[in-house]
Symmetry: C2
Subunit: 439 residues, 2 copies
Amino acid sequence: MDDAPLKIGIAGLGTVGAAVFRLLEDNGALIAARLQRPVRVTAVSARSRKDRGLDLSKVKWHDDPAALADDENVDLVVELIGGAEGAAFDLVRKSLGNGKPVVTANKALLAARGGEILRLLENGPENGKRTLSYEAAVAGGIPVIKALREGLVANEINAVYGILNGTCNFILSQMRGTGGKFGDVLKEAQAKGYAEADPSFDIDGIDAAHKLSILSGLAFGCVPDPASVRTQGIRDITGVDIAFADELGYRIKLLGIARRTARGIEQSVEPCLVPKNIPMAHIEGVENAVYIDGGHAGKILLTGAGAGGSATASAVVADIIDAARGGAGLPLFGRADPQTMQTADTAARTGSYFLRLTVLDQPGVIADVSAILRDCRVSLESILQRGRAPNQPVPVILTSHETLEGDMLKAAEKIGRLGSSVEPPHLMRIETFERDPLQ
Amino acid sequence: MDDAPLKIGIAGLGTVGAAVFRLLEDNGALIAARLQRPVRVTAVSARSRKDRGLDLSKVKWHDDPAALADDENVDLVVELIGGAEGAAFDLVRKSLGNGKPVVTANKALLAARGGEILRLLENGPENGKRTLSYEAAVAGGIPVIKALREGLVANEINAVYGILNGTCNFILSQMRGTGGKFGDVLKEAQAKGYAEADPSFDIDGIDAAHKLSILSGLAFGCVPDPASVRTQGIRDITGVDIAFADELGYRIKLLGIARRTARGIEQSVEPCLVPKNIPMAHIEGVENAVYIDGGHAGKILLTGAGAGGSATASAVVADIIDAARGGAGLPLFGRADPQTMQTADTAARTGSYFLRLTVLDQPGVIADVSAILRDCRVSLESILQRGRAPNQPVPVILTSHETLEGDMLKAAEKIGRLGSSVEPPHLMRIETFERDPLQ
């Protein structure tokens, strides 16, 4: 047992920061027994001094978070300010510059400025010794960064799929469970604190795209490039989609998909139909899940609490302890010389698709639709129309056999231009997780 | 990049040993790029020199595995001999004594001789620097030891549940899928290489109990004690059990359960009914799964390939790389001073139960059974009897409300002694994974 405590400075005392503070207090004896060294918070910085129910009497307060980097009584800096700009980046730069390991939960920073962080880690005389850890940035308390970077280190990763946004998964689970409409369930999520007042960051898939780009960078040894992720959210999903998906044997999930293909790295965030007979379909509520096609290791699924203060704090403290043990693992993004992300167009992939049309219930509509699909080389698997409503708008659900996504998109666009189409068609991928590596 | 390779000696060239050799060859460049140092097999030892399709021309052959410990050209020893006795233990003792890190997949050794290995690690002048890693001993390619020991290091673990034996899970999945009988499906598993000629080690739950005791030791900071695991296999499961479980909304899985309770650590391996609406119910075939109730981190599920050469090799190589990075993690069993396992009697736990009776179809039988249950304080939730066959043996399925397991066992025993009982009742726990911590 080394009696000298590891001295921690925490920047940001929001939900996660306060939970890290509490976890280190609650489980202090346990953590010391495991690490064989106590861990103590010696300094904090936050925007205001409002009461958070934390006993800060023994810690130094800094109004300026960057001061933590210079505090001689801080060995390791925990950055929980968030955001890719300003204070968070300054603190990271200064801390690494002063030779202090950094632990962060900041997915925006890693996704947007991964290349700059790499250079900060490489610079300076102690080249290679600087560490920044980010287990908490993706999938909350699930140790997915560790699994990918260390547990599966021996494998060429083929693909990473994830349910990476708890807000969206909660909304989709609730819509299915209660039959509620998107807008109403979103309001419920906001009331429960699962969605922000401005929910677009979550429901438009941006948050999931940040996380996917980090997983993708780590899996394939590249600098994350969130701009190259084809991103589609869940605003357009209706009860009709959910009910027909269910009838066809599927659940709708907002999936992040990153795959190594012969054409480059394919990356998307999009609602997909997932077969009900696999575990991924049964991830409900605010849970997250990450599925890794890991070469020799086979296919691995990790699920659990993807957000929330204490689950995220568990990941932050795991990183602190790794750093205390002298180095938080292997290179930041999978290899010492990460590449620029070469991305593959998702339109070039193949798969089966689910297409919801809203058309006038008139003779000849299905014939028009079928002709378009034939012309676009799309082979139909099923057409479902429940109930009749002559000359009224009705939903018609089509599913395709294996087809090129580009062909499917073209067909959907042409169908949308038919006179009988009263709403734009809604296209979703049926994801069976069974494509061959590199295909 | 450190150009000096890490030199590996492998003892045992069975399925896993050969797969480790191949993985280090196939992914050598990738591993070197990640570790920033090449890894090279320099010496091997195996029982025979038969052709395994491996190019051993550049490695030294030792007839005696213990010679790997003394080979100056070996930095790290991989023990894949197996078994708790003899050659495997000798090699581990000698290697650690010579200051060489050991990586092993040997669950029997860890389960049976964990205390001795602890003392080997503690002895010698380099106290605390010796390492033995065992990711490959439990759940094949799923990084569950790393998740528990490092990813969840900040948490007081409440419980660990696992589907830990692929042979049993394959048999149960096949019985459900095909309607086949236990004996026939076992033969199919043997033909596919999923079960041994003598299958008892797997189907009687012994292998799962070894693995559970390792997870339990690590989770709760104790020396593994497989003898204290209440162990029941799957020989007695029939198509009737599977069909009625399905009708009631459950799947049957051979579960390992290790829980921290107010009475001590409760440990069992037993077939349980698992609700169909959770991911654990959808782990099929030879897959494994580990579910961890991790305190602050929440509940985490990890699933994937639990056996097979290349998945297990992935875990072995991950341990090699951890060791090369200078230390394979935190204390062997969760804390520096692991305790003797204080176990809780499983009869003292509560839960709902599924009881299959085989009784003569006669008036009054249900009244007799009901009276026994009442006298034993068991509250019935449902009774199912499909079809009639006067004076012939018929299956009757009972499910209970929350009850004390000891009461349920007493009731089953008394029912078995009724004149109308033609086979011993078959009792299984309904496991919902929802007991409160410490209860």
